[in-house]
Amino acid sequence: MEPIDVIRSPTVVMVETNVDTDQIIPARFLTTTSRDGLGRHLFADHRFDAAGDLRDDFVLNRPQADGCQILIAGDNFGCGSSREHAPWALLDFGIRVVISTAIADIFRSNALRNGLLAIVVEPDAHRCLLATPGAEVCVDLRAGTVSLPDGSQARFEIEGFARHCLLEGIDPLGYLLGRQAEIRAYEESL
């Protein structure tokens, strides 16, 4: 995985709360055995109408959303199914950061394992971000800060080990494989 340090991009805003992973990628696209190319199914039932045409009224379809890497999302983003296809689809679409006031546990874990920054900020900072779609925002993982459109900075915390792995481009599986001796000793004690 590529190390991540600073991500700077205009934001795209989805105000809806409790956006579940069935919305992020509907189950009918989960028959794949690959993790590639899922961006085309991202928010499929919102981006496309029944005839398969793009819906102008959906926020990710607006021209201003082109190239946006930072998604400002409502409370409890990513709830529901554990499908890792959700962060895979977001990343494949070009989203690299999701900022909310609360992010569902499994989604956050899946996101961080794939280099998608899932970040929680204070409600005031979140309100400021929600109110200014398209604002240029800078997320600094090392400093743990998000630059807000009003010129101030919001702080965020990411679990220390995940943060270390993201900054250094380390795969946590390598760390687990490095604990084989302890795992073997544990198994022998059973």
Binding site: R28, L30, T31, C79, R83, G160, F161, L176
Partner: protein
């Protein structure tokens, strides 16, 4: 949520299981390395994990601690199976084949297409006796919380973590917080475990359990059967919880005794003795607690697009404060009564409510009656074993005589990626766990309810309170 001010040092059920499974303790720099006793695998969230192992040249560390089955993408229609699954989607077929190849190559036991014990992963784990108290259990599926009903620590993981467990039998985990949900009182007739958990989610909200493991306790929980406890723990994830748990007791041990993967003889006695030490100590401290009075509950039904948008079936859509988007999607208006909403499809099934007692409950309402004209009712047992047991009791005939469809086992209409799906605009009364937009088919509208309420709605042709139907005379052949 009130924080319990209790300074005692007693440990919770969760603490005890966590402590037993720590391989490397957590530090500020790194999460704990947690040992996983049982890893359940299915066709949808595993292929990319097996690929990862192959790319890295890694073996499956403990195939003996891994069980696989096919449930999500496999058709359930009897006609599909009779025709050799020729109508099965090519991608789904490939996924099923890939799981068989991966299991064959790695020595993982697979309850596959031709296995008579196959079924929904969260139904067969307990049914086989593979799920037992004190275990850590994971699966690439959020409803893994189901297994917590046995006093196990069980939670859903993503595919990358599936690969971690396949390769190392361990996960990197920060210790979650604990939330006690105390349910006292007695459920009234016609009110079930499903109604109870829907009411809990309605009270604490779909994000109310985030970061927490819930322990359900209190007299109403103790009185539940294992099937009921599984229904409750199954939907802990719908409150955002990492896991749901119930302390093991004699009900648990009776359920497990004699099951094919349960210990026997002296090993069984030793296991039960150990399991009796698992329940939370008196005065054990939880990070938060909530209380619910079971006696006051009525049958519950969801009216919106998340499981927290819930009301009594005799009630109404909230007159104010409901999400306009949810109302529009569902075709409800604010303050509208719930009963009487016309129904197109009724689904009895899913890892929430597809066990024998669920099917018996639905059958008890349907027996001697007919599914209303224009309503399609699907009854999908959770496993082939459950199907056989139901057929031995004649439940399949009761459903067929009423005009309902009796299916092979699988996830079916809960996830709608296997040929069973509802059409846009249709209203489905469903015993499953998620009423998200599009969950049962693009544009389909889901009302979550108990098997009793679902069956009553099928008979009535509209959303109905099951209680008046329970003792009404009917034609029994």
């Amino acid at each position: 949520m009130a924080t319990q001010l209790n300074t005692s040092t007693g440990r919770t059920l969760f603490d005890k299981i966590w402590d037993r499974h720590v391989v490397v303790p957590e530090t500020e720099q790194a999460p704990a390395v947690l040992y996983i006793d049982l890893h359940l695998v299915h066709e949808v969230t595993s292929p990319q994990a097996f690929d990862l192992l192959r790319r890295r040249g890694l073996e499956v560390r403990r195939p003996d601690r891994t069980l696989a089955t096919i449930d999500h993408s496999i058709p359930t229609a009897v006609a599909s199976w009779r025709n050799g699954l020729v109508d099965m989607d090519m991608a789904a077929r490939n996924q099923v084949r890939k799981l068989a190849t991966n299991c064959g190559r790695t020595g993982i036991q697979l309850y596959g297409v031709n296995n008579s014990r196959r079924g929904i992963v969260h139904v067969i784990g307990p049914e086989l006796g593979a799920t037992r108290p004190g275990m850590t259990i994971v699966c690439g599926d959020s409803h893994t919380t189901t297994h917590g009903a046995f006093g196990a620590l069980a939670f859903g993981i993503g595919t990358t973590e599936v690969a971690h467990v396949l390769a190392t039998q361990c996960l990197l985990q920060r210790k979650p917080k604990t939330l006690a949900v105390r349910v006292d009182g007695c459920l009234q007739e016609g009110v079930t475990a499903k109604d109870l958990i829907l009411a809990v989610i309605g009270q604490i909200g779909v994000g109310g359990g985030t970061g927490h493991v819930i322990e359900f306790h209190g007299s109403a929980i103790e009185q539940l059967s294992m099937d009921g406890r599984m229904t409750v723990c199954n939907m802990a994830i719908e409150a955002g919880a990492r896991a749901g748990m119930v302390a093991p007791d004699d009900v648990t041990f009776e359920y497990l005794a004699g099951r094919c993967k349960a210990p026997r003889g002296a090993a069984w006695d030793r296991a039960v003795e150990d399991w009796r030490s698992l329940p939370s100590d008196p005065g054990a401290r939880f990070d938060a607690c909530v209380r619910i009075d079971a006696s006051a509950l009525e049958p519950q039904v969801t009216w919106g697009t998340d499981p927290g948008m819930v009301a009594a079936v005799t009630g109404r859509v909230p007159a104010s404060g409901a999400s306009p988007r949810a109302l529009e999607y569902m075709g409800f208006s604010a303050g509208e009564p719930l009963q009487g909403r016309p129904v197109d499809v009724v689904f009895v099934g899913s890892c929430t409510n597809s066990r024998l007692s669920d099917l018996r409950q639905a059958a008890s309402v349907v027996a001697g009656r007919r599914v209303a004209a224009g309503v399609r009712m699907l009854v999908v047992p959770g496993s082939q074993e459950t199907k056989r047991q139901a057929e031995a009791e004649g439940l399949d005939r009761i459903f067929a005589d009423a005009g309902a469809e009796w299916h092979e086992s699988g996830c079916s209409l809960c996830i709608a990626m296997n040929g069973d799906r509802a059409r846009a605009g249709q209203t489905v009364v469903s015993t499953s766990n998620r009423n998200f937009e599009g969950r049962q088919g693009a544009g389909a509208r889901t009302l979550l309810a108990s098997p009793l309420t679902a069956a009553a709605s099928a008979i009535t042709g509209a959303l109905a309170d099951p209680r008046p139907l329970l003792h009404q005379p009917r034609r029994i052949a």
